[in-house]
């Protein structure tokens, strides 16, 4: 099962590599020396674009820094491969420890990769901590910093003057080999444990952390791999051009790379490859027209920069008509076309339930938990204990502080005061992903599935984040999918499912972390009565089989009254009642909270307790 996935990914990456090699050889054969030159340059750009895709595609953060890494790679390789004789005239002030290596192309690529890795490591300390546009801006800053340094370190880089004398050792064969290898690495990375984790952070950072993904670490790993590949591309480019300057590694080339990736599709390695091939074809065609002259009987005026205009227009049109790119968000999965095991992939493995015993259940306890926002006491000294093996309901009117309370329990918010205990561990000061790994898993009220990942990936990423052992992660994934009837939907994109099923995916995802306690925020919201009934059955069975404690927040009071062993009621940030469904139903404080204190006197006089509960149920559902 796992092996068949790995096999599919390997086949797919090889198929992409074969396409590249075929296009490269074809160009060489059809157009001779000029074709070979274009194919070589295209292979270098494929390497760079794939390197950019590893970070930007998987994290969703557009990087404006790819050319910075290429520049570092290019100058590193340039200095190291230059013959000592040329070096003495071109770089007379070069520090001695850098001079006189005259390396071959392959060894220069290794050193350039190392240089890129170091730059990525240093800059990654900052990048990993930022998200969204702040991270994009940091990459832009990196680009300008590296450019400034390249121009300023005249002794090593010749400043803004042309850096010349680099042996032109990047042949078509070398460039194709490296590009094919990069494709295989990037395509495989996407479906590794880290690759899935990074893509989960792209879909939803909060939800990824809530199922145990270390967002910063995942992002850093993608950044390191991306920087390494980009530097290698730069080293290839240096030995292709022979002479270059810092301007070759500034905004223009950065922009060209981004536009290629966007035309093909940011989300996939196939997209990077398609984008490079399409834009190369467009720009090469326009380059022929750039100088003006007669074409097909029309006289065309010279327009320098035409290829750049073409690339820009292609990008804008694609953004407008097909924002996910020509390929779209998913990989092409070419290998699937001739894969005989197609459709069989997501069958669960039955009968292995007893292989791994559950970790054992824990109680969840809040002690004097408070959170203030300015003067608002959203949660004000709430204490309760949700026992292992029981289902505890948490209810309260709108604005009572339920969501804040849950966020405090699972670390999305830090409490102003008070403690949260899971079993015997205090967890209130831990980061969300560590809380998830400690065994407290949750779902979200406003549905946070990883929409552009498959159902199986959604669940697997959670299992992998919390279990070091791959076999255990796969077992938990299969078990969670089977428990919520999702085993046949494994290959569907989670975002394409109907609402009720997306809720189930989220619950299955939380369950796959192997929780000691499970926290469900309005699991039945948006479900129809039949789905709700089915969900109740599945939750009851889950509790019976695993003994895991469950805390359910619900607006549907009928559901919560019949499902829960104990109910905690909060209002205005404070716990106002706790007890069995029957006890809570007749509690005057609860009735007053739901119906308003002024009306309470009349209602109490007129209605029997049972019928008040009917009113509560009707008004809140």
């Amino acid at each position: 099962m796992v092996n068949s996935r790995i096999k599919a990914v390997t086949m797919d990456s090889l198929a992409l590599a074969v396409i590249l090699v075929a296009v490269g050889i074809l160009a060489g054969v059809l157009f001779g020396a000029n074709g070979t030159r274009i194919a070589t340059s295209m292979s270098i750009v494929v390497t760079a674009c794939v390197g950019l895709q590893v970070f930007s595609g998987n994290t969703g953060i557009v990087s404006f820094g790819p050319a910075a890494f290429m520049g570092v790679g290019a100058y590193t390789a340039g200095i190291l491969t230059m013959s000592p004789v040329v070096q003495r005239t071109a770089l007379p002030h070069l520090p001695a420890w850098m001079a006189g290596y005259g390396l071959s192309v392959w060894s220069s690529l290794v050193v350039a990769a190392l240089a890129g890795l170091i730059l990525a490591g240093v800059s990654g300390l900052v990048i990993r901590r930022l998200s969204g546009s702040a991270a994009s801006i940091a990459t832009l800053a990196l680009q300008i910093i590296v450019y400034t340094v390249l121009v300023a370190t005249k002794d090593i880089t010749r400043g803004s003057q042309t850096f010349y004398g680099v042996p032109r050792n990047t042949t078509l064969v070398v460039a194709l080999c490296v590009a094919a290898l990069s494709i295989v690495v990037a395509r495989t990375f996407r479906d590794t444990r880290t690759g899935r984790a990074v893509r989960a952070t792209r879909e939803d950072e909060v939800a990824a952390a809530a199922v145990g993904v270390d967002v910063r670490q995942a992002r850093l790993k993608a950044w390191l791999l991306s920087g390494t590949i980009l530097s290698i591309a730069g080293a290839l480019l240096a030995q292709f051009l022979g002479a270059f300057g810092p301007k070759d590694f500034y905004f223009e080339s950065c922009f060209l790379l981004i536009s290629m990736l966007i035309v093909g599709g940011l989300g996939s390695v196939s997209g990077a490859l398609v984008g490079v091939i399409v834009i190369t074809a467009v720009t090469e065609l326009l380059r022929a027209l750039e100088g003006g002259g007669n074409f097909l009987g029309y006289s065309v005026p010279a327009l320098y920069g035409l290829p750049l205009v073409g690339a820009s227009l292609a990008m804008i049109l694609v953004l407008f008509f097909r924002p996910t790119g020509l390929v779209g968000g998913r990989e092409l999965e070419l290998a699937k076309a001739w894969d005989p095991s197609k459709g069989r992939a997501s069958k669960p493995v039955p009968g292995t339930q007893d292989v791994q015993a559950p970790k054992g259940a824990h109680a969840l306890e809040a002690n004097q938990l408070s959170r203030h926002f300015g003067g608002v006491r959203a949660v004000d000294g709430v204490s309760f204990k949700a026992e292992a093996g029981l289902i505890t309901g948490l209810i309260g009117p709108n604005g009572a502080g339920k969501s804040t309370l849950i966020n405090l329990l699972t670390g999305q918010l830090r409490p102003s005061a008070g403690h949260v205990a899971l079993g015997s561990d205090l967890i209130e000061n831990r980061q969300p992903h560590l809380i998830a790994r400690a065994g407290l898993a949750r779902t979200f009220q406003n549905l946070r599935v990883f929409a552009d990942m498959t159902v199986r990936e959604n669940v697997l990423v959670a299992a992998e984040a919390c279990a070091a052992d791959t076999a255990l992660a796969v077992w938990r994934t299969n078990d969670a999918l089977a428990r919520f009837g999702l085993e046949t939907l494994g290959d569907r994109l989670a975002g394409s499912l109907p609402y009720g099923q997306r809720r189930l995916v989220e619950i299955a995802r939380a369950l796959a972390t192997g929780p000691r306690f499970l926290l469900l925020d309005e699991p039945a919201a948006g479900m129809n009565p039949a789905e709700t009934k089915e969900l109740m059955g599945r939750l009851a069975a889950l509790r019976k089989d695993t003994g895991v404690g469950i805390l359910v927040v619900e607006h549907d009071l009928h559901l919560i009254m019949s499902l829960s062993d104990t109910i905690v009621v909060i209002d205005r940030g404070q716990r106002i009642a706790v007890g069995t469904a029957d006890a809570v139903r007749t509690d005057p404080a609860v009735i007053s909270a739901y119906l308003g204190s002024k009306r309470m006197g009349e209602k109490k006089a007129q209605l029997a307790p049972g019928s008040v509960a009917q009113v509560i149920g009707a008004s809140a559902s």
Binding site: V62, V126, R129, L130, S133, A134, S136, I137, A138, L140, A141, I144, I145, T148, V149, V151, A152, K154, F251, E252, F255, I258, S259, I262, A302, L303, Y304, G305, L306, L308, V309, A311, S312, L313, M315, I316, L319, F320, P323, N446
Partner: protein
Amino acid sequence: MEFVQYLVNILSLGGIYALLALGLAIVFSIVGLINFAHGELMTIAGYLIVLSLSFGLPLPVVLLVACLGAALSAVLMDRIAFRPMRSASVTTLMITSFGVSTICKVLFQNGVSARGRAVALPEWMSGTLTFGGFQIGMVPLTSIVLTALALIGLDIFLRKTTLGVAMRAASEDFVMVSLLGLRANTVIATSFAISGLLAGIAAILWISQRGSVDPLMGFTPVLKAFIAAIIGGLGSLRGAVLGGFVLGALEVGSEPFLTIGTAPYRDAIVLLAVVLLLLVKPDGLLPAVRGVRS
């Protein structure tokens, strides 16, 4: 004495950054676009100055033509390139503007000239004024005065006029403004017009210091303004102005500490400081207020 000189330099350089950053911030706060093509508006204003000077128009008319031309170009840019993508993400819009900027540059290079054009400044601009013992060049002085006038004028517009108040509201919660019955496209067009106007004024100041116009002239100042807007807090109008002056102060203020060896690294050092600031305050010095709906 020397301090006053630094202050003048900070105010005149920071003022240009502030005007540009403010233009970026107004558009960003309303449509969520980080407009990389803002620099091309400066270039357009620059070419309009060259063109109208060659017709022999008087200086005030020349400056008016430049500013209005830049404002009109900004509105046109929005109509042609950005309006069709109104609902797109911040990243998509930003990359689109990158494309627009590239196309404009190529058009300038081919349509006008790849080389710079000298702009003849009027005589009085090259003089200096003496204030009780110290001298101020006319160029920095005009810069400071024009910047102050532009900022005060904009402040009055945003506070006292209906459209201005609507724009401030739109920058906090755009959906709400359209629900209140204000025309979304009027508000957006006005924001682009103001950003173009500010780019035009900044272009005049920039050219008065450089004395020439070329197709790439907008790139560096707008990049700096972009950084200034981030320092202040992207989308925050007061933040953009503050960020502009902070960046000006960082650049001018670091000069005495830089040696011949370290001077070329100035931009790198300043940016490193900005990145470190982002780590501590990811939303900038004066973060934008946003209407948040769950």
